[in-house]
C-alpha cells in the first residue's frame, strides 16, 4: 500500500509538475477576480474567502478525472482489480496520494492569496483550516465520480457533473464556517463540525462507491 502511495506521489511530481500547475491555476483564478469586480479592497476582503474556496474547488476538480483514467488507459487498473487487496483500500490510498500532491499545496498557498485579497489574519487562518478539512472531501467524492466516468470517453466533464452537486454542500459549509469565524454573532463550530462530518462521511462513501463503480464498469 505504501508502495502505491509513493508511486502515485512520484507520478504526480514527475509528470509535468502536477502540484505546481494546480497552485498556479489557483493563483491565476484569484488574480483574475479583481479585474472583474474592481480593486475595491473592502469588497475584495469580503468575497475573499469565497473566491479562495471557489478557486480551490475548481483546481481540485480539474485534475481529478485522470485519477483512474490514466490507470485504465495503460492497463494498470485491470491488475489492481485482480488483487487480493480490497479495492476500497486501493481507492482510498490513491485518493490520499492525490490529495497530498494536489490538495495540500492549495491549502499551503491559500494564506498568500488571502493576503492579496486583503483578507484579515483571522479569516486567512479560518480559510486554511476549512480548506484543510474540506478539500479531502472533494477529492474523496470526486474519486467516486472519476470511477463512474472511467469508461466514458469524455470523463473529465462527466466527473464534474456527478461531483459538483455533491461538492456544493462542502463549499457552502466551508465558506460559511469561514465567515462565522470572522463575523461575531455567527458561531464557528457548528458549520465547521458539519464540514468535518461531511468529510468523514465522504471518506467512507466515496471509496466504497468508487470501488463498486470500478468493479461494474470493467469490460
Amino acid at each position: 500500500m505504501i508502495s502505491l502511495f509513493l508511486r502515485d506521489l512520484k507520478l504526480s511530481v514527475r509528470a509535468g509538475g502536477g502540484a505546481l500547475i494546480g497552485v498556479l491555476f489557483f493563483m491565476t483564478v484569484v488574480a483574475v477576480v479583481p479585474f472583474a469586480v474592481g480593486p475595491d479592497l473592502n469588497l475584495l476582503s469580503r468575497i475573499g474567502p469565497a473566491i479562495l474556496w471557489i478557486g480551490a474547488l475548481l483546481a481540485s476538480l480539474l485534475g481529478l478525472d485522470r485519477l483512474f483514467q490514466a490507470e485504465r488507459e495503460d492497463g494498470s487498473l485491470d491488475l489492481m482489480l485482480m488483487q487480493e487487496t480490497p479495492l476500497v483500500l486501493t481507492v482510498l490510498v490513491k485518493c490520499l496520494a492525490h490529495w497530498s500532491a494536489s490538495g495540500l499545496p492549495l491549502v499551503i498557498a491559500a494564506p498568500l492569496l488571502g493576503l492579496f485579497m486583503n483578507t484579515s489574519e483571522l479569516a486567512i487562518g479560518a480559510t486554511m483550516l476549512t480548506l484543510l478539512v474540506g478539500t479531502p472531501a472533494i477529492t474523496l467524492i470526486g474519486a467516486a465520480g472519476a470511477a463512474v466516468a472511467v469508461t466514458l470517453p469524455r470523463g473529465g466533464l462527466l466527473v464534474s457533473i456527478l461531483v459538483l452537486p455533491l461538492a456544493i454542500p462542502v463549499l457552502i459549509f466551508g465558506v460559511s464556517a469561514t465567515y462565522a469565524a470572522v463575523e461575531d454573532p455567527a458561531p464557528f463550530l457548528p458549520p465547521f463540525l458539519i464540514l468535518m462530518a461531511i468529510t468523514l462521511f465522504f471518506a467512507v462513501i466515496g471509496p466504497l462507491a468508487a470501488a463498486a463503480a470500478l468493479r461494474s464498469s470493467s469490460d
Partner: protein
C-alpha cells in the same frame, strides 16, 4: 557527409556547448567569490547606515526590495533576448539560457513581492493593493511560474523551446508596464528615484548600500544563471544518452535482424 550537414556542424561549432561548459568551469569560482564579497560589504553597509527620519528602520527593507525588483525585470529581459536567439538565430544555447533563467527570475520576483508586502504593511497599512505596479509584478510572477510549468510538462526540450520563446516574447509587454506603471497611473507605490533620465534623486547615504546590494544581486544572478545553464546542458546530455542506451540494448540484444533478412 552531405554539404548541408557539414554546414550544420560548422554552425553548431560557434555555439558549442562543450566550450560553454569549459568556460563556466573557469568562471564560476571567480564569480561566486566576487558575489560573496559584494554581499559582505553590502550587508555591512545595510545595517550600519542611518535610518530615514520619515520611514525609520523600515528603509532598510529597500536594500533588498529594490535590487530584487530590478533583477526580476532584468532576468525577464535576459529571457526575452534568449527567446529572440531561439527564434531568430536558432542558437542552441539560447534555449538553454531561457530555460535556466526562469526559476531564478521567479525567486527574485517572489522576493520583490514579499519584501514589498512587508514594507507596505507598516507604510501603507495594508499588505497588498491591486494597483498597477503591484498587479503587474504579480502577473510577472505568474508568468515565470507558467513558463516553468510549461517547461516541466514538455519533455522534449526542442519542442518546448519554440512555444516558450513565443510566450516569453508575448509576455515582454509586461516589463514596460511594470517600469512605467507608477507614472502612467497614480498609485500608492513610489515613483522611480534612482533609475531616472535626469540622474538619481536620492540621498547618497541610502544610495551607496543600495547600489552595492544591486551589484551584488546582479552578480548572484549571473553566477546562478551560468551554473543553472551548465546543469541544463548536463540534463540534456543525460536524456540523450539514456535514449542512446535504450537503442544500444536493442542492437546488442535480440532482434537486430529484420524478418526478411
Amino acid at each position: 557527409m552531405s554539404e548541408q550537414s557539414l554546414a550544420i556542424r560548422k554552425f553548431s561549432d560557434l555555439a558549442n556547448p562543450t566550450r560553454f561548459l569549459g568556460l563556466a568551469e573557469r568562471l564560476l569560482p571567480w564569480f561566486s567569490g566576487l558575489t560573496a564579497l559584494l554581499f559582505a560589504v553590502g550587508l555591512y553597509l545595510c545595517f550600519t547606515t542611518e535610518g530615514d527620519y520619515q520611514q525609520g528602520e523600515t528603509v532598510r527593507i529597500m536594500y533588498v526590495h529594490v535590487p530584487a525588483a530590478w533583477l526580476s525585470m532584468m532576468c525577464y529581459t535576459v529571457m526575452a533576448l534568449s527567446a529572440l536567439g531561439t527564434l531568430v538565430w536558432r542558437h542552441p544555447l539560447a534555449d538553454v539560457s531561457a530555460r535556466a533563467a526562469a526559476p531564478i527570475g521567479a525567486c527574485f520576483t517572489f522576493l520583490a513581492l514579499v519584501t514589498g508586502s512587508l514594507w507596505g504593511k507598516p507604510m501603507w497599512g495594508t499588505w497588498w493593493v491591486w494597483d498597477a505596479r503591484l498587479t503587474s509584478v504579480f502577473v510577472l510572477f505568474l508568468m515565470y511560474l507558467g513558463l516553468i510549468a510549461l517547461n516541466r510538462a514538455m519533455d522534449d526540450p526542442g519542442k518546448a523551446a519554440k512555444v516558450s520563446a513565443i510566450l516569453i516574447l508575448v509576455g515582454f509587454v509586461n516589463i514596460p508596464i511594470i517600469k512605467f506603471s507608477v507614472e502612467w497611473w497614480n498609485t500608492l507605490h513610489q515613483p522611480a528615484s534612482v533609475m531616472r533620465l535626469d540622474g538619481p534623486k536620492i540621498d547618497p547615504e541610502f544610495l551607496r548600500p543600495l547600489l552595492i546590494m544591486a551589484v551584488a544581486f546582479s552578480m548572484l544572478f549571473f553566477t546562478l544563471h551560468i551554473a543553472a545553464m551548465r546543469n541544463e546542458i548536463w540534463r540534456r546530455r543525460v536524456t540523450s544518452m539514456r535514449r542512446q542506451a535504450a537503442r544500444n540494448v536493442g542492437a546488442v540484444g535480440t532482434g537486430m535482424e529484420g524478418p526478411n533478412a
